[in-house]
């Protein structure tokens, strides 16, 4: 009895998330020009732009690491922890009409949006890396398993942060206002544009309080292998992610119970 009702609710939730994914793709990208392909073309354009800029700047500052691989690994990681929360801040309002259908829950909508964001960033990362490797601008990664681990940790961090920030943004308008400056300030601190090893000891210690720095370090260790000295603590990052997940789900539950559709 319990098993059947659990599997039935899983089927139901799968159906709802699938429907929300389709709807999200249509409302966000439409059926005009390249439509759905914007999902990964947009992050690709951002990453390409940043890679081009950093390559130009680096010519004058002297090379420490192959700049193309450095920029692609760095900026792709930003896409994960920044864009996922951006998509969930204030996400309930425009979707309130859909919650007239009892099976459509806030969490389903969050999962659909996060899945799209993660898939877009991942396709962009794989697509650009492959293209650069084929063109000879970038070496293939030294250790694919470590790259995957870093990518997974960054995705988890992005998703957990997104659910937490998204849910509390429904409780107070303040979150929406201060989230933009926070992400702007976090970009240079996030490890996308530096390696912890380049910092003085005090700076290293401070940088490693930021969870995403650990993720980027893991990603780059996988990419560059022994060419870099990565500093990270997988246990610390996992603990922060887990804590954020629990807090986020609790906040999501709080706002769901108080939801009032129009």
């Amino acid at each position: 009895m319990h098993a059947t009702s659990l599997s039935r609710s899983l089927v139901l939730q799968g159906r709802v998330i699938g429907a929300l994914l389709m709807r999200e793709v249509i409302t966000r990208y439409g059926r005009h020009n390249i439509g759905f392909f914007w999902l990964f073309v947009e992050p690709m354009l951002f990453t390409l732009g940043v890679t081009a800029l950093w390559s130009l700047v680096q010519h004058s500052s002297g090379a420490r690491l192959p700049i193309v691989a450095f920029a692609v690994t760095g900026y792709s990681s930003v896409l994960l922890w920044r864009n996922m929360p951006n998509r969930l801040v204030g996400a309930v309002g425009p979707n309130l009409a859909l919650m007239y259908h009892r099976n459509v829950k806030v969490m389903d909508m969050y999962i659909a949006r996060l899945a799209l964001e993660a898939v877009g960033a991942t396709i962009s990362f794989i697509g650009l890396s492959s293209a650069f490797v084929v063109m000879g601008w970038m070496q293939p990664p030294q250790d694919l398993a470590t790259v995957l681990l870093g990518w997974f940790m960054l995705t988890w961090f992005g998703a957990a942060l997104a659910i937490f920030v998204g849910a509390i943004s429904e409780r107070t308008d303040l979150v929406e206002k201060i989230w933009a400056p926070i992400t702007y300030l976090m970009f240079p601190l996030s490890g996308a544009a530096y390696m912890v090893d380049w910092l003085p000891p005090a700076g290293q210690k401070a940088a490693l309080y930021l969870p995403m720095v650990h993720g980027v370090e893991i990603l780059r260790e996988g990419y560059f292998g022994s060419a870099v000295r990565a500093h990270y603590d997988l246990g610390y990052m996992a603990t922060v992610c887990l804590a954020l997940t629990v807090l986020g789900l609790a906040q999501e539950r709080y706002i769901s119970r108080r939801l009032a559709p129009e």
Partner: protein, 216 residues
């Protein structure tokens, strides 16, 4: 069967909170058509949303022993930027209905023609009501929740509702909410009146109407 037991619903206000529903009880059997009368702001739409499950109760419980529709109301249920057809697809997907077989049914009942390919935000309220009814009939619910919208349809729509709902689908239960007694007198077997957070249940529509006249 649908059963509400001691349902309480409060909303936060600038100062404190307001109790919209104060220990409300209601029972609706399969095939029963129940009207809920009440003045503007008496909590009729809130009651409908709690029955549908779109909102959760603060206290008490709602038992849903039938397949209950979403609230057929002026707002909600549709994404305005999407076309009628895209909304149809979305609703078919979430309720697990075959899209291909639903399209001709919805086209026939809603009579929206080419408008099905236009965004729902361009529809009039009558057109939205037609789409809502057509879709909820295609999903094949056991109970329809109707929040005022029946009144916006034209005479042709009413005729259609009469044949499709009141003649062909006698087993279909309904909860109709309105501040206009006419709709409820016309369609319901019994009625209740919502006043100051309390639901006064009556065995037939006449008694409910008499009580309602005293309240208004």
């Amino acid at each position: 069967m649908i059963e509400l037991v001691n349902v309480v619903k409060r909303y936060p206000m600038r100062r404190g909170h307001t109790t919209v529903l104060d220990h409300v009880n209601l029972r609706v059997e399969r095939g029963e058509k129940v009207g809920i009368l009440g003045r503007n702001g008496s909590g009729k739409s809130t009651l409908i949303r709690l029955i549908s499950g779109a909102e959760s109760v603060d206290k008490g419980s709602v038992r849903r022993g039938m397949r209950i529709s979403w609230p057929l109301a002026f707002g909600g249920a549709f994404q305005g930027t999407l076309t009628g057809l895209d909304n149809l697809r979305f609703i078919c997907r979430i309720y697990g209905i075959d899209i291909a077989s639903a399209i001709p049914k919805v086209e026939a009942f809603s009579e929206l023609g080419a408008y099905l390919h236009e965004p729902v935000k361009t529809y009039s309220s009558g057109m939205r009501a037609r789409l809502g009814f057509a879709l909820s009939l295609a999903v094949d619910f056991d109970c329809l929740l109707i929040d005022e919208v029946i009144a916006v349809g034209d005479s042709r729509f009413h005729e259609k509702c009469n044949t499709e709902i009141f003649q062909k689908r006698k087993d279909l239960a309904m909860i109709i909410v309105s501040h206009q007694p006419d709709t409820i007198i016309e369609h319901c077997d019994r009625a209740a009146v919502l006043q100051a957070g309390k639901l006064h249940d009556f065995p037939d529509v006449e008694q409910a109407y008499d009580f309602y006249k005293g309240v208004v």
